[in-house]
């Protein structure tokens, strides 16, 4: 076991997979000599050279589309979108081309593409750009959850970042990989020795408990754990489930937990309306209804653009808000 930062885990996954398979390549803005704006691709250029670590013009649709073409030819490109917010200009390529190619070619063509997206609010204040406002702080995962043909992954720890990114690169489908950028330089934890793969489509119970299930994604997992620790003192026992992969969703783990606790709180960083929390809630309300003892609560960002600076904190799903939601259910 080695203590590793979240960003180092990403970097390690890229190193390992590029070492393993000569057709894994990295493409994006400033990923080569600069090693990525946040440093996720550091040293790759030195190790693997310009043919495999490719800097491009500022043309997200162009280079994402090019990566799709490479993937269709069987290569395994890993795209870095510098900030997840910028994926809006490449959205067409992902939803129109990548997501539908397998279907359109009746399975003849696969698109083994990974798109890495640093997302979310950097509340930690570490790394490049804190409090970066409406165009550098968004959590757009749910747009992609609503595009059939894409998979969507969201690791909350260094070990998951490593193991899920490796699995994403090996997957035959386009995988949208959301990295919470506030965790890059603040989330440090042990990762297993040797090759570490986390399969896509499996949730993880981060903490067992009996009173309320909290389903949390990304940076909210740590927030939920902090709330759980605090509530322990009051004799309130939280079970924390991290879906890790949003599509395909591990419904079973979520439903099993809710069957035990009978209560669910869902928390994510994106605004509540039409966010992925709604999907989780709908799954529980459809398939876990008989177990429910209380309403399902969502604790998410407010429905508004992400404010700049510290004002963002007023709009976030804080520990206080999670705690309040839990208490309301009991």
């Amino acid at each position: 076991m080695t203590e590793t930062l979240y960003i180092q885990a990403i970097n390690q996954a890229l190193h390992e997979e590029m070492e393993r398979d000569a057709e894994v390549i990295v493409i994006g803005l400033d990923v080569a000599r600069q090693g990525g704006l946040f440093g996720a691709t550091r040293k790759l250029y030195d190790r693997f050279g310009a043919d495999r670590v490719i800097d491009t013009p500022i043309s997200e649709a162009g280079f994402t589309g090019a990566a799709i073409g490479m993937a269709m030819e069987g290569m395994r490109p890993v795209v870095e979108i510098q900030f997840a917010d910028f994926v809006t200009v490449a959205f067409d390529q992902l939803s129109t081309v990548a997501a539908k190619m397998h279907f359109m070619t009746r399975g003849a063509t696969h698109v083994p593409l990974v798109v890495r997206m640093p997302y979310g609010v950097n509340v930690s204040g570490e790394g490049y750009m804190t409090g970066a406002g409406p165009h550098h702080s968004q959590s757009p995962e749910n747009w992609f959850c609503h595009v059939a043909g894409l998979k969507v992954v969201m690791p909350s720890s260094p070990a998951d970042a490593l193991g899920l990114l490796k699995s994403a690169i090996r997957d035959e489908n386009p995988v949208m990989f959301f990295e919470q950028k506030g965790l890059y330089y603040t989330s440090r934890a042990e990762i297993p020795d040797g090759e570490h793969l986390v399969p896509l489509g499996r949730a993880q119970v981060k903490r067992t408990g009996s009173d309320v299930t909290v389903i949390a994604t990304g940076a909210m997992v740590m927030q939920a754990i902090a709330v759980a620790e605090k509530l322990d003192a009051d004799g309130i026992s939280l079970e924390i489930v991290d879906p890790r992969t949003l599509v395909p969703l591990d419904r079973e783990t979520i439903l099993t937990s809710v069957a035990k606790t009978g209560r669910a709180v869902i928390t994510h960083e994106a605004p509540a309306t039409a966010g992925f929390g709604a999907e989780i809630s709908a799954v529980i309300a459809e398939h876990g209804f008989a177990d429910l003892k209380a309403p399902i609560r969502r604790v998410c960002a407010l429905d508004m653009p992400v404010p700049p600076g510290s004002m963002v904190r007023a709009t976030m799903p804080t520990q206080g808000r999670i705690e309040a939601a839990v208490r309301e259910l009991l």
């Binding site: 057709e23 390549i25 043919d51 491009t56 013009p57 043309s59 649709a61 162009g62 280079f63 994402t64 589309g65 090019a66 990566a67 799709i68 073409g69 490479m70 993937a71 269709m72 030819e73 069987g74 290569m75 490109p77 067409d92 390529q93 129109t96 081309v97 539908k100 190619m101 397998h102 279907f103 359109m104 070619t105 009746r106 399975g107 003849a108 063509t109 696969h110 083994p112 059939a148 043909g149 998979k151 035959e172 489908n173």
Partner: protein, 319 residues
């Protein structure tokens, strides 16, 4: 690489055949036997000219206009296939067929497929192949941002790719002259550091020549070329959409005729005479007639499909 006599006759055969098949399909649409076709009448010489210039292992991404002609000219896609595909009884010319020339699917948004073509060229280069990717799109699609990004990216990496703009003067109802103030599309090439050539798209030999040069350049590692093939759209944008042109304008659009131009050229060179041309046409007509008959006779009423399961949906959607 000048074409020899045999190849020139083959080219004429392909062009005359494509024209006839396209004509028949267009007519079947007008009669309501088929529906929704984007007629390629007028565009045939582009598909045939490029089709003869590319190698089977070059990857071609076809447009909704000259795609069928191109597939036919490359070989392995008969006129009968072309007609039957319209009845859902043969694969579309967009699809890669087992052992057929290398082809890449397009998508329904114009312009959107051009970055993917660039990626294919990148993959081929990465793997050390000497193949070239050729990607077709229209004058209208050329104004999409994705096309700009793709061409610029290709320029920076001197990729083995040829961009072919089928400039037919319109995008649905929008005249090209109102859709850009540029004198021509070839003028955009300089902005991406590649040569731009405008060619008469009705002249299969001229198209062939320009394509051959662009392919050679790309294969030699000297980078991409932008080819603008200027033609006229003979028919409305698609079956079911009114054409705003007057009857005179529509008639004028048909004056330049790729099949006649090639035929005249071959006759002038003494490679073809009226009798030989008539014999070729008779074979073509027979093949198309038979295909139409087959298509129409086996056209079945589409039964209400049984509801699909989520599992089946997932299997179609994900690898």
């Amino acid at each position: 690489m000048a074409l020899n006599e045999e190849q020139l006759i083959a080219m004429y055969r392909a062009l005359a055949g494509s024209r006839s098949a396209e004509h028949e399909i267009t007519e079947l649409n007008k009669q309501g036997v088929l529906s929704g076709h984007h007629s390629g009448l007028g565009h045939e010489a582009i598909g045939v000219g490029v089709g003869f210039a590319v190698r089977p292992d070059d990857c071609v991404q076809m447009s909704h206009r000259s795609g069928m002609m191109l597939a036919h000219a490359r070989g392995g896609y008969s006129l009968s296939d072309a007609v039957l595909s319209q009845f859902g009884q043969a694969p579309s010319h967009y699809a890669q067929t087992e052992g057929g020339p290398r082809t890449c699917s397009i998508v329904g948004l114009v312009g959107t497929w051009v970055p993917m073509s660039v990626g294919i060229a990148m993959a081929d280069r990465f793997r050390g192949k000497d193949t070239v990717t050729v990607t077709f799109f229209g004058d209208g699609a050329a104004n999409e941002g994705a096309v700009h990004e793709a061409m610029n990216l290709a320029g920076t990496r001197r990729l083995p790719i040829v961009f072919v703009i089928e400039n037919n003067g319109f995008a649905v109802s929008m005249p090209t002259s109102e859709a850009t103030a540029a004198e021509d599309f070839a003028s955009r090439a300089a902005g991406y550091g590649m040569p731009g050539v405008t060619v008469d798209g009705h002249d299969a030999l001229a198209v062939y020549e320009v394509a051959t040069q662009a392919l050679a350049r790309a294969r030699a590692g000297r980078g991409p070329t932008l080819v603008e093939a200027v033609i006229t759209r003979w028919e409305p944008h698609a079956q079911g959409i009114a054409d705003l042109r007057s009857a005179e304008e529509m008639a004028e659009a048909r004056i330049r005729d790729g099949a006649q131009i090639l035929r005249a050229a071959l006759i002038e060179r003494g490679l073809l005479d009226e009798a030989a041309a008539a014999a070729i046409q008779a074979q073509i007509d027979e093949e198309i007639r038979a295909a139409c008959e087959q298509g129409q006779s086996t056209k079945h009423a589409s039964a209400e499909p049984a509801p699909m399961t989520p599992e089946a949906a997932a299997a179609l959607t994900y690898a």
